[in-house]
């Protein structure tokens, strides 16, 4: 009681004393979202300025608390500098952290070892930078796992080293996911769809996405191409991007051409329509050049299917 009488609320104090009074921050001790902490935490503020989608990360369990516990200068900054050193651009840093926030807790020596391993396999620095930008989980895998996967692709597909490097550089996701779906896809291509080894090789080098495509969709598209459109294997091998399209798109365009009696996919006969143009052209160009009809006709035809 005696102590309280010494300080009255209306007593005038100097400015330094006023600034010196510490006010406990009114942040809640536990919360569901990072919104309450973002203004007070330096790490979170800098992450938002980098472009990290905090609203996506806070939905995952444990990630929010992990981010709050990081200190910007000792944890986050060295890893960001490391990424910039290997050549990742500033605009991609936010994307990488949004998809793989655990890269901020990875051991720097491990990260360096993995980058060195990739360089030892003769990937150039720009390739490594682009692979890391597009597959944020790449550097979270151990050297042994990366080695395992590269070896798998080289042996299973019997590709040369430079071809393996090429497909992995174009689709770095191949090194990140598990190998079981890829093995299944290869078995499907060989047994169910009936492609020979060299045909599969050619298709994978042209369109690596075939390896990670959905098995059901792949078989559905192939079934339609081979049995309904009567396209032989060697033509599909020549245009593997046709296996990558949406089934509905292929079906409506084929039926439209069939209705106009222009569905002719054999290169030896007249008025041949190539498969890659069939699927890759936008609607308007498809109508005017391949089908020789108007866009409205195409839409009206779709309503009769």
């Amino acid at each position: 009681l005696d102590v309280a009488e010494e300080y009255s609320a209306l007593e005038e104090i100097s400015d330094e004393e006023a600034a010196g009074i510490s006010i406990p921050a009114n942040i809640p001790p536990a919360s569901n979202s990072l919104r309450d902490y973002v203004d007070k935490s330096e790490t979170l503020t800098k992450l938002v300025q980098l472009g990290v989608h905090l609203w996506k990360l806070e939905q995952r369990p444990n990630v929010g608390s992990m981010l709050l516990r990081l200190d910007f200068n000792t944890d986050v900054a060295p890893r960001l500098l490391f990424l910039k050193q290997i050549g990742v651009e500033n605009s991609r840093l936010g994307y990488i952290i949004t998809h793989n926030p655990f890269i901020l807790t990875a051991d720097l020596d491990n990260l360096q070892a993995r980058v060195n391993y990739l360089k030892s396999k003769k990937f150039s620095s720009e390739t490594v930078a682009s692979m890391v930008s597009r597959a944020p989980f790449l550097l979270s895998f151990s050297v042994k796992r990366l080695d395992n996967r590269l070896g798998f692709y080289q042996q299973q597909l019997k590709l040369s080293a430079s071809n393996t490097r090429d497909i992995v550089a174009r689709l770095p996701r191949l090194l990140c996911g598990s190998l079981e779906p890829v093995k299944e896809n290869l078995k499907v291509c060989e047994i169910e769809l009936g492609f020979k080894q060299n045909e599969i090789q050619h298709m994978v080098i042209a369109v690596p996405k075939v390896l990670t495509a959905n098995k059901k969709k792949l078989t559905q598209i192939f079934d339609y191409l081979h049995n309904t459109m009567k396209v032989p294997h060697h033509l599909i091998t020549k245009f593997p991007q046709v296996l990558n399209t949406k089934f509905l798109r292929l079906r409506e365009r084929h039926l439209f051409l069939e209705y106009l009696e222009k569905a002719q996919y054999d290169p030896t006969l007249a008025r041949y329509i190539s498969l890659d143009r069939l699927v890759s052209l936008p609607d308007e160009t498809f109508c005017t050049e391949l089908a020789l009809a108007t866009l409205d006709d195409f839409y009206l035809f779709q309503k009769t299917l």
């Binding site: 400015d15 600034a19 990072l34 973002v38 203004d39 989608h53 609203w55 779709q302 309503k303």
Partner: protein
């Protein structure tokens, strides 16, 4: 979170075959969310905070310099809060099963109430059935397991027409049976004269109209108008027609061409499922509602029967005008 008026309403899309109706609804919801979030960017609010900077030079005055600065409040930043709209209520009208295609009515936001009323009223739907003689399968469609094959050379067009007329008659009788009015009364006669007889609410599927529009054995095409149906029932009807003709038939395609007042013309195809196209379709629906002299979708009317009667009344007017 009020979205603006041009995203509340009813519209229809053309559902492609072999696509589950839920996928269609989810795609439309995603596209609408993308459109609405893109056009409503809220600027990050700024608040004034006083930054304390103490003077570093040794000889300067000892006072503290407090400078105000307008700093953005990061807790309201879109990367921290997420997009403004994360869910939009999109409701589906009469469902279409996976292998059928055709007009599917969808409603957004407040339009769901209209959709509910629409669902409960007695409006008919138009289907086109592509069928083929010669096979019978376990699920009445051409992709099922074949149970029986038969010849169809003895079938001629007038035999088919006789069968369809008979079926139509049986269904008209069912229509009268299911309506809740006493058959011998004057009221029943007046309602029948105006075409207002019919079941209220849930009942067995009834075909109000059935005719053959194309006959080229083994293929033939039927046009059906019906109430309270499911697509499986329609395929069963085709199977029964085959049996009546001492042969077998399967249904290759079910296509809904009209659902109440939404026709193929208003339906949006797959390429027009972006937010802008959907909003345009809703605008067209609202303006057509304003233009009609009669009230089409009374939300506040009391009895179901009156609203049903008005709808079938206008439908009949349209029929009379068209054919």
């Amino acid at each position: 979170m009020r979205a603006c008026a041009n995203t509340q309403g009813v519209f229809c899309v053309y559902k492609p075959a072999d696509v589950h109706w839920k996928l269609v609804r989810d795609t439309i919801e995603t596209n609408l969310l993308k459109g609405v979030n893109a056009t409503h960017p809220q600027p990050v609010p700024r608040e004034v905070r006083f930054l304390v900077s103490s003077s570093d030079e040794p000889g300067a005055a000892k006072g503290l310099r407090v400078s105000p600065a307008a700093v953005p409040v990061l807790s309201k930043h879109p990367l921290v809060t997420g997009p403004e709209f994360q869910q939009i209520k999109v409701g589906v009208g009469h469902r279409l099963d996976t292998s059928s295609s055709g007009v599917l009515v969808l409603a957004v936001g407040n339009g769901n109430k209209t959709l509910n009323d629409l669902y409960n009223t007695r409006i008919t739907r138009d289907y086109t059935l592509e069928c083929e003689f010669g096979m019978a399968t376990h699920d009445f469609s051409h992709t099922g397991r074949v149970l029986e094959r038969s010849t169809y050379d003895h079938i001629s067009e007038d035999k088919l027409e006789r069968v369809t007329a008979m079926l139509e008659g049986a269904n008209q009788k069912a229509l009268r049976m299911y309506s809740t009015v006493d058959m011998g009364s004057q009221e029943a006669y007046e309602m029948a004269a105006k075409g207002l007889l019919g079941p209220d609410g849930k009942s067995a599927p009834i075909l109000t109209g059935l005719r053959c529009i194309h006959f080229q054995p083994p293929k033939f095409t039927l046009e059906v108008q019906c109430l309270n149906e499911t697509q499986k029932y329609l395929r069963k009807v085709v199977h029964e027609i085959g049996l009546e003709l001492r042969s077998t038939a399967v249904c290759k395609g079910v296509r809904r061409t009209r659902d109440g007042l939404f026709t193929l013309q208003d339906a949006l195809t797959r390429h027009h499922w972006s937010a802008a196209d959907v909003m345009e379709a809703i605008y067209k629906y609202h303006s057509s509602k304003r233009n009609q002299k009669k009230i089409l979708f009374p939300i506040r009317e009391s009895t179901l029967e009156t609203s049903g009667s008005r709808l079938t009344g206008t439908h009949q007017n349209k029929d009379a005008a068209a054919g």
